[in-house]
């Protein structure tokens, strides 16, 4: 164990007794205003919300019994994200509220008898402390020294506070640790991003191609629903995955590709389409730029060439290419979601975008539709101060095509170096367990060590809360308002989240915390509303609705402003790229010094006795945040290690036994993982679900269950285009038990 100034502290080190006292004596002061405007005598049985268990944000209804106890959450029939059906995580979202391991009261880091620990604080004390420290540190380094790492609904509130304070360094791991490469690839090709929910028109597609994307295991509700509709309508599914995933089991073609060679397959597919004239000639002629360059570029990439790299039969490569062409334009080569794999990810997703362009699926029914977002005016506030330093200066000259802030870029810039003066001194971390979200934990810990203040705002104790200076307990989505959900979809729509009940324990909603901090920082001008209800009602009235109406209906849809869900036949379209065309040959890439056409680069292979570490999702869990949810833990309480029977035989592994894992850098997993011997994984790889192996003992159900893949991801392949952290280049081997379950290290 390394020694640092900042010791990891188990939350509530001063004892549960003091916590219980604090929780029962400190009533939530804003509780009365929470329900202001609603008839207090009205005993409603359901109230609207949108889910916060994952980013899909399905809108639903929270049902309460006569005693006011939350019983169940079900989907809102009007909602385009869920069509009235919540996924297991949403249905089990009620467990977030009931979880007795929740963060219960503000905590401040302190030293007692030379030991670092947390002490219980009141809200005034905690917020005063943070505001005073922020002012003092900013007086030395400027307000730009504050950064916010966020995931989910709290980000809007804390982001607003940060911008008013004078920093725009707001970042979400969902970009550089997840979907960033696909957004940049589609932006440089089509001049627009894929969005969330994805603009994939799966319900009407005739051919869905999934590359390492395990729909059904990643339970992105609307997409999974539409995939099921497509199966009903006889669509062909083609799955490319070294693992026989759930959806591989539902596919007409499963291509058990050698890991890390996807680019070769994509180039071969492009080659086959062009060589055989299996592409939409009119579409390519009318809308695209650089076809001749592409044609010349892919000439050598025959299926026979790809066979030697991918191990996929050339005949199957041709057959699947034909299948895509036959379905076109109702074909989707899916851009995926978690796509930070090998460091050339933007280029791989460029190849995906090019395939879609050749088949004419962008802007076509059954391909990619044009989503529209409801326009909702923001409550008027003064312009934010212009920071002296923008977040991109943290990684100046690098990741030039990133269209969002790069989280790992800010993290690295926090570590003081002689050649960089833009160090961050304060982190706000909200709704993201950075120890599990960012790979290369050593760098994250170095950065945290260099901070003068870290404030963590969350509902649960996690690994990152242990390193905080101040912990603020956030109430769950069932106990609060948030900003209106207005994600783009086939129809513009909004959804309301309102509290179904008062915050449990001494937790508070993010909007209240951000505003209270803002006021303490002298930023009243940017928080002119008395409470969030007033702000939401003002916004809703600008678009012909009201808070009262939204409380009744939960979701409201608006007509599209134009009939442009798909391109009209022969329509002239100007794309938001340098050439105004769909760029098969990317001028953005060329201008920034990257390959304008995707190329195949071989990636490192596992050394003998090691296996590539592949990780993924389970449908009943989201990242590491649900691992302690009582309802969801009941469905899955640990991850398992998928091992091919040939490998198992070689190592004498049996299903059910526990092993530890060691990676190529001799990093050994903290806990053990249960082996699952299965034919469903290639012999050169092992697989586990991400989000387990928590080492915070305050997580009574999650602690020590399974292995945390992130701690084994010590080698990161950075995507030079947009800063993405490629995480699939790590190799592990087995460390054996000596005394039953726990392995000796």
């Amino acid at each position: 164990m390394r020694t640092t100034r900042r010791q990891f502290i188990k939350v509530s080190a001063l004892g549960a007794g003091s916590l219980a006292v604090a929780a029962s004596t400190l009533k939530w002061s804003a509780a009365s205003s929470l329900f202001a405007g609603a008839d207090a005598s009205q005993a409603f049985t359901r109230s609207p919300t949108y889910c916060e268990v994952c980013f899909w944000q399905c809108a639903g209804w929270v049902y309460k019994d006569n005693d006011g106890r939350i019983q169940k959450i079900v989907g809102n029939d009007e909602d385009l994200h869920c069509n009235g059906r919540f996924c297991p995580r949403g249905t089990g979202g009620v467990g977030m509220y009931h979880d007795t391991d929740r963060l219960k009261t503000p905590l401040i880091r302190t030293v007692v008898d030379g030991e670092e620990t947390f002490r219980v604080a009141g809200w005034d004390e905690a917020l005063d402390y943070i505001a005073a420290r922020m002012k003092e540190i900013a007086s030395r380094y400027g307000p730009e020294c504050v950064a916010l790492f966020t995931h989910g609904s709290g980000g809007a509130h804390f982001g607003h506070m940060l911008k008013a304070f004078g920093s725009q360094s707001i970042t979400a791991p969902s970009f550089a640790q997840c979907r960033g490469p696909r957004e940049v690839a589609f932006l440089t090709t089509f001049g627009d991003i894929v969005y969330s929910p994805e603009r994939t028109d799966i319900r009407d597609t005739k051919c869905l191609v999934l590359i390492g994307s395990h729909l059904g295991e990643n339970m992105h509700n609307g997409q999974v629903q539409e995939m099921s509709d497509a199966i009903d309508k006889g669509a062909t599914i083609i799955t490319v995955d070294p693992r026989f995933s759930t959806v591989a089991g539902k596919s007409k073609f499963w291509l058990p590709i050698k890991p890390s060679t996807d680019m070769a397959l994509l180039l071969a597919w492009i080659h086959v389409l062009i060589e055989n004239g299996w592409y939409d000639k009119e579409y390519v002629e009318r809308y695209t730029y650089g076809f001749e360059e592409l044609k010349a570029h892919v000439k050598p990439f025959t299926p026979e060439w790809a066979y030697g790299i991918t191990t996929i039969d050339p005949h199957v490569i041709r057959q699947t290419a034909k299948e895509m062409f036959n379905a076109s334009p109702a074909v989707i080569i899916h851009p995926g979601r978690h796509v930070t794999w090998y460091g050339d990810d933007t280029q791989r997703l460029r190849a995906v975008a090019i395939l879609n362009a050749l088949l004419g699926s962008w802007g076509r029914r059954g391909g990619f539709y044009n989503p529209e977002k409801a326009e909702v005016p923001e409550y008027p506030v003064p312009p934010f101060p212009q920071p002296k330093r923008m977040p991109t200066e943290a990684y100046e000259g690098k990741y030039t095509l990133a269209n969002e802030v790069v989280s790992n870029g800010l993290c690295e810039a926090t570590i003081p170096t002689t050649d960089k003066s833009c160090n961050f001194k304060i982190w706000f971390v909200n709704g993201t367990n950075l120890m599990a979200a960012l790979p290369d934990q050593e760098t994250t810990l170095k950065a945290i060590d260099a901070l003068e203040l870290m404030v963590v705002i969350d509902t649960m104790p996690t690994e990152i809360t242990g390193y905080a200076d101040v912990i603020l307990p956030e109430c769950t989505f069932l106990e609060r308002y948030d900003m209106l959900r207005k994600s783009p979809h086939r129809e513009p729509n909004i959804a309301l989240r309102m509290p179904a009940t008062e915050p449990k324990y001494n937790s508070k909603p993010a909007d209240w915390m951000a505003r209270e901090l803002g006021i303490r920082l002298g930023l009243e001008a940017w928080f002119p509303w008395n409470n969030i209800e007033e702000m939401l009602d003002w916004q809703l009235k600008q678009i012909g609705s009201s808070l009262e109406e939204m409380k009744r209906i939960g979701v409201k849809k608006f007509p599209r402003t134009a009939d442009d869900l798909y391109f009209a036949p022969g329509e002239d379209i100007s794309f938001n790229t340098n050439t105004g065309k769909i760029e098969l040959y990317s001028t953005d890439m060329e201008n920034e010094g990257f390959n304008p056409l995707p190329v195949y680069t071989p990636h490192e292979e596992p050394p003998e006795g090691f296996y590539r570490l592949i990780y993924g999702r389970a449908p009943m869990h989201t990242f590491s945040r649900t691992a302690n949810n009582p309802n969801l833990t009941d469905l899955m309480d640990e991850n398992t290690l998928w091992v091919n029977p040939k490998v198992a035989k070689m190592w004498g592994l049996k299903s059910g036994q526990y092993v530890k894992l060691s990676n190529q850098d001799n990093k050994v997993s903290t806990f053990s993982i249960r082996v699952r011997v299965t034919e469903r994984i290639r012999w050169d790889s092992v697989y586990m679900v991400h989000g387990f192996g928590h080492n915070n003992t305050k997580l009574s159900r999650a602690h020590g269950r399974g292995v945390n893949d992130t701690e084994l991801i010590t080698r990161v392949k950075i995507d030079p285009v947009m800063g993405g952290t490629g995480m699939r280049g790590n190799f592990v081997t087995f460390v054996f038990d000596t005394d039953g379950k726990e392995a000796a290290v």
């Binding site: 019983q71 169940k72 959450i73 079900v74 989907g75 869920c82 009235g84 059906r85 919540f86 996924c87 297991p88 249905t91 089990g92 009620v94 729909l215 059904g216 295991e217 339970m219 509700n221 999974v224 629903q225 995939m227 099921s228 509709d229 199966i231 009903d232 026989f244 759930t246 959806v247 591989a248 089991g249 539902k250 499963w254 058990p256 449908p619 009943m620 009582p630 309802n631 969801l632 009941d634 469905l635 899955m636 091919n644 299965t678 034919e679 469903r680 994984i681 290639r682 012999w683």
Partner: protein
Amino acid sequence: MRYAMAVDTKKCVGCSDCVVACQTENNVPIGYCRDWIVEVTDGTYPQLELEIRSERCNHCDNSPCVRCCPTGASHYSKGGTVLVTPDECIGCGACIASCPYDARFPHPDGHVDKCTFCLHNRVEKGLKPACVSVCPTKCMYFGDLDDPNSEVSVVLKKRKWKTLIPEAGTRPQHYFLI
């Protein structure tokens, strides 16, 4: 009237939403479940097949659990649904041992518990069972087999199906589309 359920194994992704929806709808204590997911993998890499099933009580026409119940707590109800009256159940467990599908469990309150097809709390109110109405893939069908136009009748006419352990002679009313 003959209530039955069909699960489309071609669409089910095994997400367990049916399990958690049943738990919250029917107050099934955490740690117990009335429905569950079974995954069966066949073959050798890369020639593989996968079947995923959402399973529960088969509400058999010829139920060994009803036959062996010493108190009459296990009984046939509306539409052939097999139910347990908790107040009459002595928790002897004979039904648990007799069920070839392992569909019953001892509830911590002392009686035996199992799937009810949500008969009283949903179906009699015109709603679908909780598992059917929550399923994101819409892979579950429920209705009256005596009504040729019910969605379960229609889908069983249209598709190939199987039941589990038909050789047990229980005449299960839970079908799996294959």
